[in-house]
């Protein structure tokens, strides 16, 4: 259930770099749960995260996390975790040593930091390897260390920037499972940036879609896919005649390689399909409701993909 005060609130956020608008009047709020921030490279995901973390000042607008502005009040960062996309790990120290140090830099006293490091490494499945130098770890293990350092100080909110980048399919599944576990079992809210819609769809409760620095859509993942329900039809023959019959009845139909899709969810469409099938003498093989994948939603808004230029 969403708490009253949002964990993260972004209001009319704009960020301009020279002649490029990285963020353009973006407003959203995030409550408890796993939220995906989705967008192509240059969409404004990282800029949003940097502003929220207090690393960059916005040109205009406000961003607060846990009710505080991280740029003005850096103590709030004690309760925030961040896993960057790029390399950030020292190679010559062990994971145990590194995590203890990172817990301390987040404000945890030394004795508690050592315990937290061990607990967190157990959580990410690296307890047995904790005394090995990080430089000898595989890519998947390094990603887990990156996740562990974001969690070691027990944040209330954690930002994960492309956490599955560079992982093979098995490693990706494990990382997504860890992210789900982090929220569902330990109650840590997650903002998860990705350009991989499948990852977001499987992991997140809510999504925010950014394109060209603008907020395109935001809401529950479930709501996204329900809203865009379609009917899928597959016929053995006379497919073109069926398309014509449907269009004469005012039905919007899209042709795919394996069949036809019709926009729903109005139930009257089924009557129109029945009549069109009879008219076109098209033997029906399969007719079923189908939800759009997030990929399709994203493709529809592709016209905003380029960063907005300032005149």
């Amino acid at each position: 259930m969403a708490s009253e005060r949002p964990l993260l609130a972004v209001e009319r956020l704009t960020k301009r770099y020279a002649n490029v608008v990285a963020l353009d009047d973006v407003t959203f709020a995030i409550h408890d749960g796993i939220t995906g921030i989705l967008g192509e490279n240059g969409a404004g995901k990282s800029t949003t995260i940097r502003i929220v973390l207090g690393l960059t000042r916005p040109t205009s607008g406000t961003a607060t996390v846990l009710g505080r502005n991280a740029f003005e009040d850096i103590e709030v960062r004690q309760r925030i975790g961040y896993m960057p996309e790029h390399d950030c790990l020292p190679s010559h120290v062990s994971a145990a040593e590194f995590l203890t140090h990172m817990a301390e830099t987040s404000g945890i006293p030394p004795a508690a930091a050592r315990t937290r490091a061990a607990d967190t490494l157990r959580h990410v499945g690296l307890f047995e390897e904790r005394y090995r130098a990080i430089g000898g770890y595989s890519t998947g293990m390094k990603q887990r260390v990156k996740l562990a350092q974001a969690l070691v100080h027990d944040p209330a909110f954690v930002f994960l920037d492309e956490p599955t980048a560079g992982l093979d399919p098995a490693g990706r599944e494990e990382m997504l499972a860890l992210i789900r576990k982090t929220h569902r079992e330990f109650g840590i809210s997650v903002l998860f940036s990705s350009h991989l819609m499948g990852d977001v769809e499987r992991t997140c409760d809510r999504i925010i879609v950014l394109q060209g620095g603008r907020l395109v859509r935001s809401g529950e993942v479930e709501q996204f896919t329900q809203e865009t329900e379609t009917v899928f039809i597959e016929v053995d023959e006379n497919r073109e005649a069926l398309v014509e019959a449907l269009e004469r009845r005012g039905v919007r139909v899209a042709s795919e390689r394996s069949g036809l899709t019709i926009e729903g969810p109005d139930e009257s469409v089924y009557d129109l399909v029945r009549d069109a099938l009879v008219e076109a003498k098209a033997p029906l093989r399969r007719m079923a409701p189908r939800k759009h994948a997030l990929t399709e939603i994203f493709e529809r808004t592709g016209e905003h993909a380029k960063p907005a230029e300032v005149a």
């Binding site: 850096i74 004690q78 925030i80 960057p84 950030c88 020292p90 301390e104 404000g107 607990d119 130098a133």
Partner: protein, 300 residues
């Protein structure tokens, strides 16, 4: 006896203990800086260089104590002093090049790898500013430098006292050398720390920073000494001021009240104590301020 039991994987636990914020964060960066400089928590290779230099510097102090002891044994009580056997006032001059090479090799280790590995990105999203980070690193390397410079002087003092016919009389007569070598060592440590870290702040590669600093000290010294010797008057004196390895040694001479072998004939001495101290402060705190400024607005 029941030998069966249950093993519980308690795994990740929520933390509701104390959070010490920015002050703990700065202490952690300081502690990590000292450990990094000395190679603690790292493999054996990381310990070789710092401990080699610390060993050499301490050994020089020990050898100086042995020579003074031998002089006293052969020439009688006070022979080491009468024969001007090198002592505390000369030590920093004797080891200055080794100290600057140590600073050049070890100092960049505190800054360059964090930027090269991207670990700085993790620090800057914690309750810590870029200026906190660099101040903690500066303090950490200063601490290591102080230990490195004071330890041999302490060995020398104890060695000379122990090697004297009456150690009590020696301590009574020379106790003022202790605050002098502490102060002169602090001046040299602060100077070497600031320059080493400032140079390191310009590159992500430790080796480049080390080579540049060694080059700056080793190559410029004969250059400026030679040119200053050729020029007469104020120009020669000011050229002599640019012998970077001598800047903290002039301060050491002022503290000990007598010139060392290296600085005795430097034309810069004619400019007077105020100018020499001011020049030292300008380089030390100017470099530190520039370093602080470079990191103040650093963002990942």
């Amino acid at each position: 006896m029941n030998t069966s039991g249950t093993v519980f994987d308690i795994g990740y636990q929520r933390y509701d203990g104390e959070r010490e914020g920015r002050s703990r964060s700065r202490k952690a960066i300081f502690k990590d800086g000292v450990r990094t400089a000395l190679g603690f928590g790292r493999g054996g290779k990381a310990k070789v260089l710092p401990w080699f230099f610390i060993g050499v510097l301490t050994m020089i102090g020990l050898v100086m104590a042995i020579i003074a002891g031998a002089a006293n044994m052969m020439g009688g009580p006070g022979a080491a002093d009468r024969n001007n056997i090198p002592s505390h006032g000369d030590y920093y001059g004797i080891v200055s090049i080794i100290v600057f090479v140590f600073a050049a090799v070890v100092g960049p280790e505190l800054l360059c790898p964090d930027r090269r590995n991207g670990t700085i990105n993790l620090y800057l999203v914690r309750p810590l500013l870029g200026s906190d980070y660099v101040a903690a690193r500066w303090a950490a390397f200063l601490t290591v430098m102080l230990g490195t410079l004071w330890l041999p002087q302490l060995v020398l003092f104890l060695g000379r006292a122990g090697g004297d016919v009456s150690p009590g009389v020696y301590v009574q007569k020379h106790w003022l050398d202790i605050p002098r070598f502490l102060l002169a060592g602090a001046a040299m440590a602060a100077y070497a720390t600031s320059l080493s870290l400032l140079i390191a702040s310009f590159t992500k590669r430790r080796a480049y920073a080390s080579v540049f600093m060694v080059g700056l000290f080793v190559i410029t010294t004969p250059f400026t000494v030679g040119l200053a010797g050729e020029m007469k008057g104020a120009l020669g004196q000011w050229l002599s001021m640019f012998t970077l390895s001598s800047i903290p040694l002039h301060v050491s001479d002022i503290i000990f009240g007598k010139p060392s072998e290296l600085t005795d004939r430097a034309p810069a001495k004619a400019l007077g104590s105020t100018v020499l101290v001011g020049w030292f402060l300008l380089w030390t705190f100017g470099a530190a301020a520039l370093l602080w400024r470079r990191y103040r607005r650093l963002t990942p």
